[in-house]
């Protein structure tokens, strides 16, 4: 079984290397004619479903295949490898063409590695516990909740300007303190970016759920995820081009709606 799939890959390789020949990515990938993409070990819901990126299920897996297709690689030419989060943001040679595991683009990281254009801007999401779960996912329904947020983030102006809750929000020093206040039942709801909210509701805060998410353009300076590449990787131009095309065609937004709104069941609050 293993041999046959290997042989089929070799065949596919020879078939598509000709196809990729005239394309932007030709000669720039780790293995000619193949696109090697790394993800986390393990990779999590809803970024990669069931820890199997090969299925193309999950937001990042779907984006990876869409970008690969846009760059002229067939689905069979996408090779998945695993890397730890910290190992990949260190400087040095990489064993992947690009790495997707919710890397936020920061200037510090950008000094030692390269990032593609962002494929995702993390929107603010509403995490609720207890009473908060009964609230309606509308701006009006959110006003009556007792709110908390991290005092040093842009969640604060969003709370005071957009939601305008009836009672003064409680503010904390970091996510851990907000979590503690939720567990103590001192607040009903808190604003986090969606990836953080997904993690907190799945792992950290028992009995919590995500009521909804705001459109990404509502947050000022949102956390943006980029594909991580070795510093100076010539492939970056091709990946950016592909991402731009996917953004323009609306394909990227569709993938996001499918995996981060429909699958997670986190509706958009407008």
């Amino acid at each position: 079984m293993k041999t046959t799939s290997f042989i089929s890959i070799v065949f596919a390789l020879s078939a598509t290397s000709a196809l990729a020949g005239g394309h932007c990515a030709a000669g720039k990938t780790l293995t000619e004619g193949k696109l090697t993409i790394a993800t986390g070990n393990p990779a999590y819901y809803p970024w990669v479903m069931d820890d199997s990126p090969e299925s193309g299920e999950g937001f990042e897996a779907a984006v990876a295949y869409a970008v690969a297709a846009e760059m002229g690689f067939a689905a069979d030419d996408v090779v998945w490898v695993r890397s730890s989060f910290d190992e990949a943001i260190q400087p040095g040679a990489k064993n992947f063409d690009m790495n997707m595991q919710q890397y936020s683009i920061t200037p510090e990281r950008d000094e030692v590695v390269d990032f593609s254009a962002p494929y995702y801007s993390a929107p603010m999401a509403v995490l609720v516990v207890g009473e908060g779960k009964n609230a309606e996912a509308t701006l009006e329904g959110l006003k009556g909740l007792l709110w908390g947020a991290v005092g040093t983030t842009t969640a604060v102006p969003m709370l005071t300007d957009l939601i305008q809750p009836d009672s003064d929000p409680l503010l904390y020093g970091d996510n851990a303190d907000v979590t503690a206040a939720m567990q103590a039942g001192q607040i009903d709801a808190a604003l986090f970016d969606l990836p953080t909210a997904l993690f907190l509701s799945a792992v950290m805060i028992e009995g919590s759920s995500i009521l909804g998410q705001f459109p990404a353009d509502r947050s000022d300076n949102p956390d943006q995820f980029g594909m991580l590449m070795e510093d100076g990787n010539p492939l970056k131009a091709c990946v950016d081009e592909a991402l731009a095309a996917l953004t323009d065609s609306g394909a990227l937004a569709e993938i996001e709606a499918k995996w981060l709104q429909d699958t997670t069941g986190v509706p958009l609050i407008d």
Binding site: G148, G151, T152, T153, T154, V156, P157, D168, P169, L170, L171, Y172, G173, D177, A180, A181, Q183, A184, G185, Q186, I187
Partner: protein, 277 residues
């Protein structure tokens, strides 16, 4: 005798006045020189403009000051309900540590353990532990409010210090006073109430003033568990405006309260020393 009748002063007094004037002039001019040096030399430092922009930015100061002042009202409120409770609990603990009856010895142990624990644990840990921990046990609203439990954390910590100060006051009242009260037929509780405490409390008032000043600043620790008091509000402004001036504004507000309070404590202490000597 002519010079004495003219101003009503002796030659000695005139000499001393001259000395005093001279030292005043010297002190005044040296202070002026230091102040001028600071005012002129600091702005000459190469990074001054940047520092001024991020720490002493007038526009930011004027914009954020009203909000800070409003947030400070919460500090005042927390202070106002904590201070009397601290005084009462502190006094009770001090009295518990002073009981003489052998049957009540457990009370003494309890008092000692209390002061040891709450003076030894960092305030912020107590605030977290009580502010998040007790409500986390499943209290319903509004009894899980961070205002209630955060205040309790401050009260417990400060009572330990205040109790020790009260105790030092109680112990400073000489044993002979107790004996005298006893010989007059006063009961033990009356001795404490009418003989010991009135003297003890008066003696420790300046030291307790210092505790009030410290408490007034530590109220800001409640911001860790949610209440948006002046320190947190300044932090929010800092993040929004990427400027540290709001902290300076908060410091100005704190100083406006603590400096008069400190001067008053000094005055009380000096007065007490004069009375004793």
């Amino acid at each position: 005798m002519a010079d004495q009748s003219a101003a009503g002063r002796t030659r000695r007094q005139i000499y001393e006045d001259r000395l005093r004037r001279r030292s005043l002039i010297i002190a005044g001019s040296s202070t002026t020189i230091v102040v001028l040096a600071v005012l002129f030399l600091v702005p000459m430092a190469p990074g001054w403009e940047k520092v001024q922009k991020s720490f002493f930015n007038w526009d930011v100061f004027a914009k954020t000051f009203p909000g800070l002042l409003e947030a400070f009202m919460l500090d005042v409120a927390i202070f106002a309900w904590c201070a009397p409770l601290i005084a009462i609990l502190g006094l009770l603990v001090a009295l518990a540590r002073d009981v003489r009856s052998p049957a009540l010895f457990p009370l003494r142990i309890l008092g000692a353990a209390y002061t040891d624990i709450f003076r030894g644990v960092p305030v912020i840990l107590t605030v977290y532990l009580i502010g998040f921990g007790i409500p986390g046990l499943g209290l319903p609203r509004p009894w899980n409010s961070p205002y209630i439990w955060g205040s309790l954390a401050l009260i417990l910590t400060y009572s330990a210090y205040v109790a020790e100060i009260f105790r030092s006051g109680i112990e400073s009242v000489h044993q002979s006073q107790r004996s005298a009260a006893e010989s007059l037929g006063l009961s033990e509780s009356d001795t404490i109430r009418f003989v010991i405490l009135p003297q003890a409390i008066r003696r420790v008032i300046p030291a307790q003033m210092n505790m009030l000043i410290a408490l007034q600043k530590d109220v800001a620790l409640l911001s860790f568990i949610g209440p948006v008091e002046i320190f947190r509000q300044a932090g929010v402004y800092k993040s929004l405006l990427a400027n540290f001036t709001p902290y300076v504004g908060a410091a100005v507000i704190f100083l406006a309260v603590t400096i008069p309070a400190t001067r008053y404590a000094d005055y009380l202490l000096a007065k007490q020393n004069r009375e004793r000597s």
